[in-house]
Symmetry: C2
Subunit: 419 residues, 2 copies
């Protein structure tokens, strides 16, 4: 079989499986999720043996230590996967729920029923835990899923796929509701992106290169998550102690993630008071500051920011800092350099907070809280499958609800249309 | 300027305009809509003179009479456009509305705010009224719009664009919030589909060829409306008088539209009783029946359906008829040949109705009502911009709400994230 034929066969099987999963009861789906969790914990030695093959290859290929770390499946990682599946089983099942009916003047009762999307393709890099997390969420929402992980995790992902398939069959679900593509060649991704007849949605998770490749080549709708160039804006009347705590948390607590702060904007009227203490605290934590001219005047030890710094996602202990004339300049800066991901304002003025919230065009806008809260779990969605920076279908963290859609359901008593 | 440069300039201007429109108040947007309506009725002679140029060309090119009819802008067509704008002005403005806040255990208050999508590109054929209808709905939802009509309506659309632009400027909105592409060459469409930096959504309205071209070439998300192969299923315990009224309406009242019935499925236990009377009534209305073998046994005068009939969208007084063993066979037939558009069941049994409604994967599923009700106005959405048969973002008729999305808005009191 050519790669294209293989992928087409996988996609067609997924479509069939999707029809069956869509009809499963909540209990059936939850039993399957729990069974996957059980089997993972029963077969840890098998999974770790397969994972070891990937690790050996990774060392041969001299991957960086952090990459090898992310690849490694230890007992605790496997336990976290299993726990995650139990959490997803406890989430409310959105499928089949009906919105309140509205009665039309002719007596028709119109409501919307939540339904699965169908077949979801997920293309991701390195971490094998995505295989299990994504499969769990997609199943809970009544979908079938086709997974394509990074080639460096090939054996680990295939091992997990085998376990998931057996667990599905044990509990009466179609085994092919979760498939991991057994082809390492990149042309398999390309072939998957052309299966618009069978696949309803593609979610790429990974670096910008991967996402651009997917967007360029997909005939299937893509929910993308580009970079997070997140801003915190300190307003004129901010509580400066609170501002310091929020900025420190947003930059330092976990600098390598997409919802960490990359640029700090400070109203000119508080800059002299706020920046020196803030900078001292950042300095102790090893944060390098790259400032505008006014920032560098106030903080002579800061490095000077270049044009390339403003749109940069450092994912590191580096922070761009700009002093702005007023809130409108802050909003303009965010519109020009931001990535529609996460922005926060610190202010005591409700009206000004409301203005910021309305005008900033980002998936999550926070008032007096850290950007780090842009996360499905933190915002109450349960587990998430990623954070969408596209506006179509879902904007922001995507939970189980965002993996569904709605259809109209209309109850009549023989109504016909006159015109 | 090359076509590509022209389109890029238009798209960039639309993006700027979108930011301004998103910030407009409901009153400002409604004033603009009403002003467009006024100016259309003030300038009817100008519009009709420009429309005449298109009509002359259409006659030269020997377009069919129905096509010329659809192109023609008469006083009543213009009045209907103006009335439509006033209707849209009366719709509730979704932009800025907040969902009820949910408080997280750490005190964060999380809600979702409805926001415009941004820039919407609409690619359509012939009827110039789409220019005004689409512009009105997009504006109401706070979006900028780029319109590309059929080349046969070029002068009419440019005339309407001029009027809309002046009306926007009269009322303080950016004139470029509504732009009609002033290039007839098809490469303009191709160029528009590549402006993913500036355009958030593409909606194609027209034949399958146009929609396929758009899906093949777009880097921007597409909400597509493929064909409507709509089914009515007459269940074993249907009220057969009601069934006859519904089927007659669904097929005959307006056969050329996407929500007209194309295939009738009849439970074998009522086929002998139902089909002869139904066929008589269809025959009087000039409907040609193409039946399965069982249908042809019951109705010897019917033509025999071929394989190609089942997935066919006739848009004409032709009906495919199949007698099915049971409801599951009907559901299977719909899954195999349907287009996820509109399906109806006639039954007196609530449980069986519920089963059909859950299992049929269509944007609108009706019980005891005509398929002709799949329409934004009929279902209570107000005006519609089309009927989506894609599941992402919107499935079914799209009103003003479906031209928006949501962002998360989070209010805190200094919360930071611990882990």
């Amino acid at each position: 079989m050519t790669i294209e034929t293989t992928i087409r066969e996988i996609a067609a099987a997924a479509r069939n499986a999707a029809t069956a999963v869509a009809r499963c009861s909540t209990n059936q789906k939850n039993a399957a999720l729990q069974r996957i969790a059980e089997k993972i914990m029963q077969d840890t030695s098998f999974i770790k043996a397969e994972n070891e093959k990937d690790l050996i290859k990774a060392r041969e290929m001299r991957l960086s230590d952090p990459m090898i770390d992310r690849l490694k499946l230890e007992e605790t990682t496997l336990q976290a996967m299993a726990d995650g599946l139990h959490d997803v089983a406890r989430l409310e099942d959105p499928v089949g729920s009906l919105s309140p009916a509205r009665t039309r003047p002719n007596g028709l009762k119109v409501s919307r029923m939540r339904i699965p999307l169908g077949v979801i393709g997920i293309i991701y890099e390195s971490r094998p835990n995505v295989t299990v997390d994504a499969a769990g969420l997609c199943l809970k929402a009544g979908n079938a899923v086709i997974l394509r992980g990074g080639s460096e995790a090939y054996n680990s992902n295939q091992a997990l796929a085998k376990i998931i398939r057996r667990a599905l069959e044990d509990t009466g679900l179609p085994g092919r509701a979760v498939q991991v593509i057994p082809v390492q060649d990149r042309s398999a991704v390309y072939a998957l992106l052309k299966q618009e007849e069978f696949v309803d949605l593609i979610i790429p998770r990974g670096g910008e290169g991967l996402i651009r490749f997917v967007v360029e080549n997909s005939k299937i709708p893509v929910l993308k998550h580009y970079k997070g160039v997140c801003h915190v804006y300190i307003d004129a009347d901010a509580d400066l102690d609170m501002a310091q705590e929020i900025c420190f948390n947003a930059k330092v607590q976990r600098p390598g993630v997409c919802n960490a702060m990359e640029t700090l904007l400070v109203h000119q009227s508080v800059a002299e008071k706020f920046l020196p203490d803030m900078a001292k605290r950042f300095s102790v934590a090893g944060v390098e500051i790259r400032g505008c001219s006014e920032t560098c005047r106030i903080l002579p030890e800061a490095n000077r920011a270049e044009d390339a710094d403003w749109p940069e996602e450092y994912l590191d202990l580096i922070l761009a800092v700009k002093v702005v004339d007023d809130m409108d300049q802050a909003i303009e800066h965010i519109a020009k350099y931001g990535s529609h991901h996460t922005e926060a304002i610190v202010t005591r003025d409700d009206d000004r907070a409301g203005h910021f919230v309305r005008e900033v065009d980002s998936s999550v806008v926070l008032v007096n809280a850290s950007t780090r809260f842009n996360d499905g779990g933190q915002l109450g969605l349960g587990a998430e499958i990623g954070i969408s920076t596209s506006k179509l279908h879902a904007f922001g963290p995507m939970g189980v609800n965002e993996l569904t859609t709605t259809k109209f359901v209309v109850f009549g008593e023989g109504q016909v249309r006159e015109s």
